[in-house]
């Protein structure tokens, strides 16, 4: 009798998707994803398909399209691109088509029960690592690969090595999941997890809500990870139930005890202060005190990293009874229509509006450089996931990244502010 060596989540997920067994890191195989997400880039896929002269697709039920990056259209060109996608989806019978009203693809797909544990999901977006929040293997690819997968159903995948990131302790009030993952990025660097499967574990991770797990798996991309995963547990199952996913429609994949990791990283968050990522790289991370007092022109609460309901609620808790500083623009872009609807019934939206926020339609918004651009010499504090030069307008502007709590506190003071200075009664992120 032969014994199978222990396997990591990544090995199991790629074995499942490829139908092959006993894969080892470094091996290149063809995998058949369960879902192919394409966002506003979908029009490029359609044009590519036209160029190929192919109309026979592998499985239209595995295609999901979400018009999120530029929504609603900002130009006749955008409008024509959207129209192309809309008409293509109707013609091909693509049922998972979400129009400009839906919100950010990643969040929309998870809310709608389209992401399940153990599944292999590709997307035309680097932050597709976010699907690991529900125990799926999510990874980003270019639009040519999505087009090719529409036709063939498969793509080449290298089996990654895995890195285990064990996080223990409980954060102090005012320190959010975003602060923890920014600290990790600062410690490991922008290429600290390149080509790797990042597995999160430890008591802190077990205590995180799905929303916080999304923030984690999303930001893992900023360390170069191929995918990121939080092992599914009761928290995951409860979320899936709420999203209408049948319990018998998926199989949870977990790393075996004794599985081989390239490295194990440990972090205790008990004493961690709120963190800020300083221009122009995400891994340039300092405690908020180091940059407190830096003047701001704009604060952006949005993106697939931090514009979920919990994120908006944290910001509203801090902003309640306060007003945005004179001369500062606070832009809030809910991650999805569902987030916006919930925030409108719980009073969160009203609190943000009363505090002086500009609420925009759900979508990527300013994070993708659409609405909320900056002029020369301006500075934004953002809850998004990238602070690269020129990403939000002028090449001569600056982006700082922080948590929703730090963003809200900074909007009130008009300068980068430790949220603990304004948070008298506010406790942890809602779990």
């Amino acid at each position: 009798m032969t014994t199978t060596p222990p396997k990591t989540f990544a090995q199991k997920a790629i074995e499942r998707a490829s139908g092959q067994r006993d894969l080892v890191p470094g091996q290149i195989v063809d995998a058949y994803p369960d879902l192919y997400m394409s966002h506003t880039a979908s029009w490029r896929c359609i044009r590519t398909l036209e160029r190929m002269g192919v109309s026979d697709l592998y499985d239209v039920d595995r295609i999901a399209m979400v018009m999120d990056h530029i929504a609603p259209a900002m130009s006749a060109k955008n409008a024509a691109d959207h129209k192309l996608c809309r008409e293509f989806a109707a013609r091909m019978g693509i049922r998972r088509f979400y129009d400009v009203n839906a919100g950010i693809a990643h969040i929309v797909l998870m809310e709608n029960g389209l992401i399940r544990p153990g599944e292999f999901v590709i997307g035309t977006d680097s932050h597709s690592t976010i699907y690991g929040a529900l125990g799926a293997f999510g990874t980003g690819v270019g639009f040519s690969e999505i087009t090719a997968t529409w036709v063939t159903g498969k793509l080449w995948v290298k089996v990654p090595e895995s890195v285990l990131i064990e996080i223990s302790g409980a954060t102090v009030p005012g320190t959010c999941a975003k602060d923890v993952v920014l600290r990790l990025i600062g410690d490991l660097g922008a290429d600290g997890l390149t080509y790797c499967s990042a597995e999160f574990g430890g008591s802190y991770v077990a205590s995180m809500s799905v929303s916080e797990r999304m923030t984690f798996c999303n930001l893992a991309m900023e360390m170069g990870a191929k995918n990121a995963v939080v092992p599914p547990d009761d928290v995951t199952l409860q979320y899936l139930d709420g999203a209408g996913v049948a319990q018998d429609s998926f199989e949870i994949l977990l790393s075996d005890p004794g599985a081989a990791y390239r490295e194990t990283v440990r972090l205790d968050v008990s004493a961690l202060a709120p963190q800020v990522s300083v221009p122009h790289t995400v891994d340039n991370v300092v405690p908020v005190d180091d940059v407190a007092g830096t003047t701001l022109d704009q604060v952006f609460i949005g993106s697939c990293a931090n514009a979920k309901y919990d994120d908006l609620a944290i910001a509203a808790d801090v902003l309640a009874g306060h007003h945005v500083a004179a001369g500062v623009r606070l832009i809030v872009t809910p991650a999805s229509a569902a987030v916006m609807a919930r925030a409108s019934t719980t009073g969160v939206l009203a609190t943000l509006i009363e505090a002086g926020a500009t609420i925009t339609n759900p979508g990527c918004g300013a994070c993708a450089g659409n609405g909320g651009a900056m002029a020369d010499g301006e500075r934004t504090l953002s809850t998004a996931n990238r602070n690269f030069r020129g990403r939000m307008g002028s090449y001569d502007s600056e982006i700082y990244l922080a948590s929703p709590a730090t963003a809200a506190a900074s909007a009130i003071r008009g300068v980068i502010t430790d949220p603990r200075n304004l948070m008298g009664s506010v406790a942890h992120e809602s779990r």
Partner: protein
């Protein structure tokens, strides 16, 4: 294609060159390599853009192409006349996009150490060699599957050469 050895004059970059620097999102409304090339590296200023336009090889440090999954980060380089990127390491999505759009992307830290801006650099992804003024350096040759995609000029042209009717997969 006539062979897997390609190269010419090099333009040298440092570490962590991200896709927002390579091609800002505002230009992603285009997929035309020549049009995209006009805006390649725009945030770094016209002098750097000029150096890229006159080069055939991009040489970079660690984590070249980090950031967005935008395929145009590879396409704009091809449009600018870049034939190969030689780096210490690549962000994984950029590496995929490069191969899939027919742009050779090789990791060879030892070669990068020896290259100065304006040097002649030649790379052969089949043989797994990079030639610089200081000598010839080796890297693991690409697996056959990737060599085939590159040789056909990218994933889509490669696919168009395949026989139709893909077999269905049971899972």
């Amino acid at each position: 294609m006539t062979g897997q050895r390609t190269g010419g004059k090099a333009v040298v970059f440092g570490d962590n060159i991200n896709t927002d620097l390579i091609i800002p999102a505002r230009y992603l409304v285009s997929i035309d390599p020549a049009e995209l090339a006009e805006h390649a590296f725009e945030p770094l200023g016209p002098e750097m853009q000029q150096r890229v336009q006159s080069a055939a090889v991009v040489v970079a440090g660690r984590n070249f192409g980090c950031g967005s999954a935008r395929e145009q980060a590879a396409t704009c380089l091809t449009g600018a006349g870049i034939r190969v990127v030689v780096a210490r390491s690549f962000a994984r999505v950029f590496f995929r996009n490069a191969i899939n759009t027919g742009l050779a992307a090789v990791e060879c830290p030892a070669a990068v150490d020896t290259i100065r801006d304006g040097d002649e650099v030649w790379a052969d992804y089949d043989a797994g060699t990079v030639e610089t003024a200081a000598g010839t350096f080796t890297f693991p040759a690409f697996p056959a599957s990737l060599r085939d995609i590159l040789a056909d000029g990218g994933l889509i042209p490669h696919l168009m050469r395949q026989p139709k009717s893909p077999e269905k997969h049971d899972d």
